[in-house]
């Protein structure tokens, strides 16, 4: 159970995160955060020495969650199917399901937000973003490598390139999703990517041939 102080701290971080994703970090004032969190100005500074500390903590928390989700999706994919190529496909599908299941508009990714506000953050914060992306890239690329051993790809591919492609589609879809106000768009992009991966690894469901009507 979280103490009262911890709850307030969490409320501050939540409010800050939401505002940063909507307006960006620079346009997020402490008064905005304080008001959204339903606390006073004094309380904000009781919990955080500065605004920068909030940005650091937000990104670190996001990095942590991101890593957990990555690990869990990979683990669940591993539980569901044995073939590493299938695991990749399932993983992308899990992302699709996740975005589709949300009942509010997905607000985008903090890493992207910070990237488009580069120069406002200190070295350590930038490094957190880089490390998080690098982690994702590494674990997914490793899985792609496994998949390549199990199924010779139909086209020449670079494992890191494929990992980046998945990441790119996700990040790009977040932007389109925000503009269109649609989580479904994000999910659909993940689904299409899934089909691409199946093609690359020759995982076409051959049994799905439509029986000719007569």
């Amino acid at each position: 159970m979280a103490t009262r102080g911890e709850q307030t701290r969490a409320r501050i971080l939540d409010a800050a995160r939401a505002s940063v994703l909507e307006r960006g970090f620079a346009a997020t004032s402490i008064d905005d955060i304080q008001e959204a969190a339903g606390i006073s100005r004094g309380t904000f500074f009781y919990h955080f020495p500065s605004k920068d500390d909030v940005s650091r903590e937000i990104i670190e928390r996001h990095a942590e969650v991101d890593r957990e989700v990555t690990d869990e999706f990979l683990r669940r994919a591993g539980d569901l199917v044995d073939d590493p190529a299938q695991q990749l496909v399932v993983m992308v599908g899990l992302y699709a399901d996740y975005f589709r299941s949300l009942d509010t508009q997905y607000p985008g990714c903090l890493f992207a937000s910070y990237t488009y506000e580069a120069g406002l953050f200190d070295e350590a914060t930038e490094q957190t973003v880089k490390d998080s992306i690098a982690y994702w890239r590494d674990v997914v690329a490793a899985k792609v490598r496994e998949a390549m051993e199990a199924h010779t790809p139909v086209i020449e591919i670079d494992p890191v390139g494929v990992a980046d492609q998945i990441y790119s589609v996700m990040q790009g879809a977040f932007i389109l999703g925000k503009v269109d106000g649609s989580n479904e768009l994000i999910a659909e992009q993940m689904n299409l990517l899934k089909e691409h991966l199946k093609l690359v690894f020759g995982l076409r469901t051959a049994a799905k041939e439509v029986p000719a009507a007569t």
Copy 2:
């Protein structure tokens, strides 16, 4: 020939655009712009009534250039090959070549920047972003539709979905490219996407079979 005033105006817009792409709009002060453009504070306000007007003009100029590039790439693709599916592939390749040819780090897309700072801009500005993306989607989706008629896709696809996928990969790659400080990454992502498209439309270069050694 541009008048002196027009040149100054352009310098202001260039400086503003660069700063917005690096730090975001909110963190771009008029002093930043003024200093980068090599003019005084007074001159800025001589040319622009407010900071918001600059944001509007920047995005409109970007939208215009974006549209021109889209049209030109599609036109050039049409000049190079007849088959609409091949045209799509060539178009993506043209983007790849473009990003590879840059000698400075590609700073990212203003639409993405604005999307992650939504709420700072007025209705008209937001609409410009939406319209620009919609235009891209429409013309590329139309080409995908043509391609589908010429080549039955190997997988079930939605033309708009495919257009969005290309856009997503580009936008996502911009982010990765910024983080990694690499234009090559962006170009590589476009190349991989090119291969995916070839697969989908069955455009594999069958003649490329590696002759068995011995």
